[in-house]
């Protein structure tokens, strides 16, 4: 199971240029408290809090969204219950729990695969 994203020093990737007098919302990102502004998309919340949205499944590093218009499908994250959320098209709501790695409940490794990975022969 992957660890949650480590906090990258230096704050977020996106830079707010205007519209900063909006009410603050609180949310949890990988269990850590964060804030966003009312009207932010989840992607903006993630990228003002930190510098990435998720890690690529294929080992080429972190991802931080790409198209921001729901076409590239590179910004899918999860809520605590394992529901899929497309960060660029999801609006932040107060108290949201967002996960940048799949929760264990989403697609648990079966005991059989775990045993095989431990080198135990399954009969």
């Amino acid at each position: 199971m992957s660890d949650p994203l480590p906090k990258h020093g230096g704050g977020g990737r996106f830079v707010r240029l205007a519209e900063i007098k909006r009410p603050t919302l609180r949310l949890l990102i990988d269990g850590a408290p964060a804030t966003a502004l009312e009207g932010d998309t989840l992607l903006v919340a993630l990228l003002t809090h930190g510098r990435r949205v998720r890690a690529s499944e294929f080992g080429d590093g972190t991802r931080a969204g790409f198209c921001l218009m729901g076409a590239c499908q590179d910004c899918w994250v999860w809520d605590e219950a394992g529901r899929r959320l497309r960060a660029c098209s999801t609006v932040v709501t107060e108290g949201m729990h967002v996960r940048t790695t799949p929760p264990a409940s989403l697609w648990p490794v079966t005991p059989e695969v775990a045993a095989r990975e431990r080198g135990e022969v399954s009969t």
Binding site: F14, T41, R51, L68
Partner: protein, 462 residues
């Protein structure tokens, strides 16, 4: 009997199509994937934001305002379904799903008007899979819809009018723009200029944008060849490296890159509706066949806006209206026929002018297809699956594919979540170059349902 008309999309084309239908006395269903109408170019900021239309849309403020106001006025006369994805289409039926509830519907139609719009057209650059790389459209959406810049030091690279527009918007909004790197030459050819002169005010506006960037101290370069985007897998992009017009290697430090080479039509629904496509040599892409009123080769299916031909917002408005009226004409709707008869000539003439400008743009800001063939083997082509140019070439050299769907089956390019939207054009160029066949000979990635990923909690329509 009132014809059943469904419009997909609530950008300029979809809104004007809906408006025409309502004027004719028809109540269409309007399917919109977005939360609010406006599409991409006239994307509305969330409620509670305070910037004016002028700030958001600049010279297009009046048009944006008119579009939004007109759609608001239509709301009670249409069946508007926001946050709804049209995920499939069969004969006479559109299949939709609501994004949050997962409820599906099969909508019977007598006419379907697809105004699906466009995405940026991307040419892969080694390193474009690093965090911090975005499309030009994304950079614009971050600003327009969320009042953010994609980074604190941004490099924009690509070609096309959007390159200059977004960079100028960023500058004006107070972001730091390190450089604007255009792969096209500084001076367009005479043929290109002739095309651009179909809409001289737009040409002038483009020049004004370039001037504002220079005045703002932004480094502007033309005729660059992208070499790579440097950075780390963890930290993301940190530098854009190009070869300049004189052949020297130049690097620009940054923490965000906006990339784009004009636009690419969203044609998945047209493909699923079994519309015929034809290769257009000018823009080197496959486009659905349409007549001058937007009729596709499939009876009952009409295509309008950037999802059929990249004519821009003004063209989309005209095309949306014309397609809607053509649909009603074809359905023998009395009021529709009368409107169509009185407006067809003027609308088709407008579209012809727009198309002349489109051709000028395609020549002035050409798709640098040769960059695909020049990609190093370790450059990622398919961002979704991290498939490299080398793996794609292997599918040609070692596994014998000479066609892009075959190359997809062997290499997995185009099998990711974006379904080939961002890699498809470059993949075709790479396969064609490796197989030594012309690019139209390798075909195009065939669309397969769902049009976008479908959550498997989607419920059957009971």
């Amino acid at each position: 009997m009132t014809p059943r008309v469904v419009v997909v999309g609530a950008g300029p084309a979809g809104v004007r199509a809906a408006q025409a239908l309502v004027e004719a006395g028809v109540r269409p269903i309007v399917i919109d994937e977005g939360r609010r109408d406006g599409g991409q170019i006239y994307r509305r900021q969330p409620e509670g934001f305070t910037r004016t239309h002028a700030t958001l849309y600049g010279s297009e403020a009046a048009k944006a305002q008119a579009l939004h106001r007109d759609f608001d006025a239509l709301r009670t006369q249409i069946d508007y379904r926001p946050e709804t994805l049209a995920w499939n289409v069969t004969a006479g039926q559109l299949h939709t799903v609501h994004a949050s509830s997962g409820e599906t519907a099969a909508l019977d139609f007598d006419a379907l008007i697809v105004c699906a719009g466009a995405t940026d057209r991307l040419m892969p650059v080694a390193g474009w899979n690093l965090a911090g790389c975005y499309s030009l459209g994304a950079a614009q959406i971050a600003l327009k819809a969320q009042a953010c810049a994609i980074g604190s030091r941004v490099v924009f690279m690509g070609s096309g009018p959007l390159l200059y527009l977004v960079a100028a918007q960023y500058l004006k909004a107070g972001a730091t723009v390190e450089a604007v790197l255009d792969t096209s030459p500084a001076v367009p050819t005479l043929t290109a200029l002739r095309g651009l002169l179909h809409r001289p005010h737009l040409l002038l506006r483009g020049l004004a944008l370039m001037a504002s960037l220079r005045l703002g101290g932004v480094k502007l370069m033309h005729a660059v060849a992208p070499l790579r985007i440097d950075g780390t897998p963890d930290g993301g992009a940190s530098s854009v490296v190009v070869r300049d017009a004189r052949g020297a290697e130049r690097a620009f430090a940054c923490d965000a890159v906006g990339l784009g080479w004009h636009l690419r039509a969203e044609t998945q629904l047209a493909d699923l509706a079994r519309c015929e496509f034809a290769f257009e040599p000018l823009s080197r892409q496959w486009l659905p066949r349409i007549d001058d009123c937007g009729r596709s080769s499939t009876s009952g299916v009409y295509l309008a806006g950037d999802g059929a031909r990249i004519l821009g917002a003004d063209g989309a408005e005209a095309a949306g209206r014309l397609a809607a009226l053509a649909a009603l004409h074809d359905l023998n709707h009395a009021r529709g026929r009368s409107l169509f008869a009185s407006e067809q000539t003027a609308l088709t003439r407008t579209l012809a002018t727009m198309n002349g400008f489109r051709e000028g743009l395609a020549r002035a800001f050409r798709w640098p297809h040769e960059h695909a063939a020049a990609l190093p083997n370790d450059a990622v082509v398919c961002r979704c699956e991290a498939v490299t140019a080398g793996e794609l070439r292997r599918s040609v050299f070692e596994l014998g594919s000479q066609e892009v769907n075959r190359a997809k089956a062997f290499s997995r390019v185009g099998m990711g979540r974006c379904q080939g939207r961002y890699c498809g054009h470059a993949a075709a160029e790479i396969v064609a170059a490796a197989a030594s066949v012309p690019v139209e000979g390798v075909g195009r990635l065939r669309s397969q349902a769902p049009v976008k990923p479908l959550l498997m909690s989607a419920q059957e329509d009971e």
